[in-house]
């Protein structure tokens, strides 16, 4: 390997804490990235991975300070350079792509001009040459129709196209180092797959070394050669990506892998592992190993006192653990065994709790949902998947009565529900409750936990003051939170704790149906695993029906008994989870499944998706015929007609003309 592009040696970064002291967010990190190499920084929120990435650029947020160590970029000490020398590097020899492409683009300037600006400022090209270069760059990031796109404003582009434009801007000067901070987190799965393919292709065309910061191990697996797993500001394990993920040597890395739901597995085949406890907050780590309190193999007396160094673990690998050879395999830790894995009883064929028929919703001329038919039985989980804008959250709001449908019927235990929540009876209201996506906004920040739980106990369950308090305590226990939190404000809780409170609130009135709208997408994987397990346990105890909405197929596969796939407001496939995940699929389902980045590296490209960006059809008038026609690789002339539902047996049905085709065994047009 030649001289590294980036070399970090003993880097320690601190931030001021609210109490006036400074806490170390990154501690003693050393790493190197060679030209053309891609290094992934993995870890959960608060582990210091973004801070480390920005320290490597000498672009720390306000208050951040390099306390010790050095950063060398192409051999020169970055923190010894003057401001003007730094400006010569930023944007020219080192570039960044952020998580939210909408925020990185100036909304008042066409994207082509924003890229051309880079050429004019850094390379001194004149206006015409810079524009040509910008269009050329858009073409290199596989933007369809770059000449036209160059004249569009950011809001006229879909999320995926915006991110391509940002990447084009970052690569315009052919930088030596490209830092990618969660570059696909804000994107839909199919778009994410396209962007990841793009990175893989660009790595061959450009010389940039990549530093990819991410929490999704599947994403890192697709792009990076080497991986560094961070915990509490330290690198706890590093090594070649495939080898590290196949057999992690640090207990944290192993536990983290065990938390990740895999698209091939459902809850009936066993619970997800989860990591008990919370990571230490920055600057409060003790003298020993920072993972000691959550570690299944720790010798507390020894590990709590002796700080482990990075022990070498074979070629190119190292783990910060005294007992690395004892590290359990992912998914076999103590947490799994303790959780028990009694299978969820399969729901019977009784009358459905929720029966939605012919439901539609339109806002002005825009049809958001069209003719939706769904059933959910008691104790059953129906997973609802689809990309952003598919109308899945709207469906939940309609069932909850927070939006009034434009047509169709919603029945709860056979009785029709009024369109608006206010017009429903108290009994009906307590029977249908909802858990929202973001626990930060779902709890009133000015209310204590006790009050948040007592109010619904009084309003919905009609309890008196003392009984409501008692109920609140019982609910805290149900969601495995300490009773002491009852007087806390939401801001004093972690994200996972807040979501548990929101779940407890939904269960106050012993609901028949709980609507779960992306309940874990704002949480870290280890927390997500614990929350998913909690939801399964509550369902087993209460027999509630779940409508589980998610864009994450692996999570849906884990949670759902049956799955319904929604595309642009129409159902295209519905059936038992294991059947939906096995062919034959609807072409759209196929594209969704293919797009999921898998930990074993088997992910295919964005399969059937040939129509360019997912959101391309957005805002256009709905064409007659199959909704998926424009993006479908298998589409034929018949697809101009609305496709019929075809029954594939076992409750599995697909709305498609071409699948199952001649090659697929099951099913005839019904």
């Amino acid at each position: 390997m030649s001289t590294p592009v980036l070399e970090l040696d003993g880097v320690t970064v601190s931030y001021p804490r609210p109490d006036g002291f400074r806490g170390a967010a990154v501690r003693d990190v050393s790493l190197a990235v060679a030209p053309g190499q891609a290094l992934g920084l993995a870890g959960e929120s608060g582990c210091g991975k973004s801070t480390l990435a920005f320290a490597a650029l000498r672009h720390l947020p306000r208050g951040g300070r390099l306390e010790a160590g050095s950063v060398r970029f192409l051999g020169s000490d970055l923190y010894a350079l003057s401001r003007s020398e730094l400006r010569g590097l930023w944007g020219r020899r080192m570039a960044v792509v952020y998580q939210n492409p909408g925020g990185a683009l100036n909304p008042t300037i066409p994207v082509g001009e924003q890229i051309a600006e880079v050429y004019r400022y850094h390379l001194g090209l004149d206006r015409a040459a810079a524009r040509d270069a910008a269009i050329g760059m858009l073409e290199r990031v596989r933007m369809a129709n770059p000449g036209r796109v160059a004249d569009l404003y950011p809001h006229e582009l879909s999320g995926g196209m915006q991110q391509r434009a940002v990447i084009a801007m970052a690569l315009a000067t052919d930088p030596e180092l490209l830092v990618l901070d969660e570059p696909t987190t804000a994107l839909d799965t199919t778009v994410q797959a396209e962007i990841l393919d793009l990175f893989a292709a660009l790595r061959r065309e450009f010389r940039a070394a990549l530093l990819l910061v991410g929490h999704n191990l599947g994403v890192l697996r697709r792009v990076c050669d080497t991986l560094a797993v961070m915990y509490a500001g330290e690198i706890v394990e590093q090594g070649p990506t495939a080898a590290l993920l196949a057999r992690p040597r640090h207990p944290y890395a192993s536990a983290l892998l065990g938390c990740v739901p895999d698209a091939g597995r459902g809850a009936r085949e066993g619970r997800l592992a989860s990591i008990p406890g919370l990571p230490p907050s920055p600057g409060t780590a003790g003298p020993g190993c920072s993972f000691v309190r959550r570690c299944p193999i720790a010798r507390p007396a020894f590990c709590g006192a002796e700080h482990p160094p990075l022990y070498p673990q074979g070629p190119g690998r190292a783990a910060r653990c005294h007992f690395a050879e004892e590290t359990p395999e992912p998914g076999t830790g103590a947490a799994v065994a303790a959780g028990g894995s009694a299978p969820v009883p399969a729901p019977g064929a009784e009358a459905p709790v929720l029966h939605v028929s012919g439901l539609s919703f339109a806002r002005g001329p825009v049809e958001i949902l069209r003719d939706i038919d769904l059933r959910v039985a008691a104790g059953e989980t129906l997973g609802l998947v689809g990309e952003s804008g598919s109308g899945k959250s709207t469906l939940a709001l309609l069932v909850a009565g927070l939006l009034a449908p434009s047509g169709g019927e919603i029945r709860l235990d056979g009785a029709a529900l009024a369109g608006r929540s206010r017009r429903r009876s108290t009994l009906q209201r307590r029977a249908v409750q909802m858990v929202f996506q973001s626990p930060d906004t779902a709890l009133n920040p000015r209310r204590r936990v006790g009050r948040i739980l007592e109010r619904p106990a009084r309003v919905l369950a009609g309890l008196g003051r003392a009984a409501a308090r008692e109920k609140a305590r019982a609910l805290l226990e149900d969601v495995a939170l300490p009773e002491g939190l009852i007087d806390s404000f939401p801001v004093q809780l972690s994200g996972g704790q807040r979501q548990r409170i929101a779940i407890a609130r939904a269960f106050v009135g012993e609901p028949r149906l709980v609507l779960l709208d992306e309940p874990t997408s704002a949480l870290d994987v280890s927390v997500q695993a614990a929350v998913l397990n909690l939801l399964r346990d509550l369902q087993r105890r209460s027999g509630a029906a779940y409508l589980f909405i998610s864009h994450d197929l692996a999570v849906v596969r884990y949670m759902a008994d049956r799955i319904a796939v929604l595309y642009q407001g129409e159902l295209v496939e519905e059936g038992p989870a294991e059947r939906v995940f096995a062919p034959p699929h609807h072409p759209y389902t196929e594209a969704l499944i293919a797009a999921v980045p898998r930990l074993d590296g088997t992910s295919a490209a964005a399969g059937a998706d040939e129509g360019g960006d997912a959101a391309d059809g957005e805002g256009q008038a709905r064409a007659a015929g199959c909704v998926f026609r424009r993006r479908c690789a298998a589409a034929g002339p018949r697809c101009a007609e609305p496709p019929p539902w075809r029954d594939l047996g076992g409750g599995h049905r697909i709305r498609c003309w071409v699948r199952p085709g001649a090659g697929d065994a099951a099913g005839r047009a019904s």
Partner: protein
Amino acid sequence: MAAPAVDLRVGRRARRMPPSLLAGAAMLLAWVAASLLAPWIAPHPPLASDFLALLQPPGPGHPFGTDQIGRDVLSRVLHGGRSVLAVAPAATALGLALGTTIGLAAAYFGGWTDEIAMRLLDAVMALPIVIVAMLALTFLGASTLNVILVIGIVFAPLVARTMRAAALVEVRKDYVRAAELRGEGIAYVMFREVLPNVAGPLAVEATLRLGYAVFTAATLGFLGLGAQPPAPDWGLMVAENQALLTTAPWTVLFPALAIAWVVVGIALVSDGLRVGQGP
């Protein structure tokens, strides 16, 4: 290998209040205390004329001088603070109550309710406040209660705009959805769920309006639409003595300074609250 030997501790820093908040609060406290204690600390009764000491410049017997019928300016300024103390907070409270209700309702209901409420408020705000107040007081008659009502009502649209803007962010949050889902009434959602979360902007708005209320009350007094002679009212005092501005400036200067004192004090508190809220 031990943790890096870096001492990350800096001195514990006390949470400090913004200096403008402290200064403003001190000014206002001085005013409130002086107004409440006026009957005991004022050297003379506010209405008593000393015909042997007409238009005396500030001196040992009369620190602020006397006016043209020999009344002690200091005593009148001290007593004049009492009417401001009654009018401004009451008018502000009325304006806040009306404006908050309208603003929260417009934000919560949105759509047509919001459109209509906002256009009506625009129409009211297009009229100059003093002209509206003059018209109303001419019809209703000048009295303390009417001054409070009029100022309160003309302030409501301004408050409503601010509160609507603050509440628009909150009403979209899911805790409001959760309250609707358990069937809470409209008033509960607006005042018990949303209002506590816009308390910060409300506090800033309250101090801002209070300052304007002091100023508007003085203006109405100056125009003869508030307190009537011989009452010791700051605005009225400025009006009565404006002809003497060149010959006996102290008769105008001290009531004017008193108005400025209170308005600046309130502005400093308002500023301090805004800084304290921070981003």
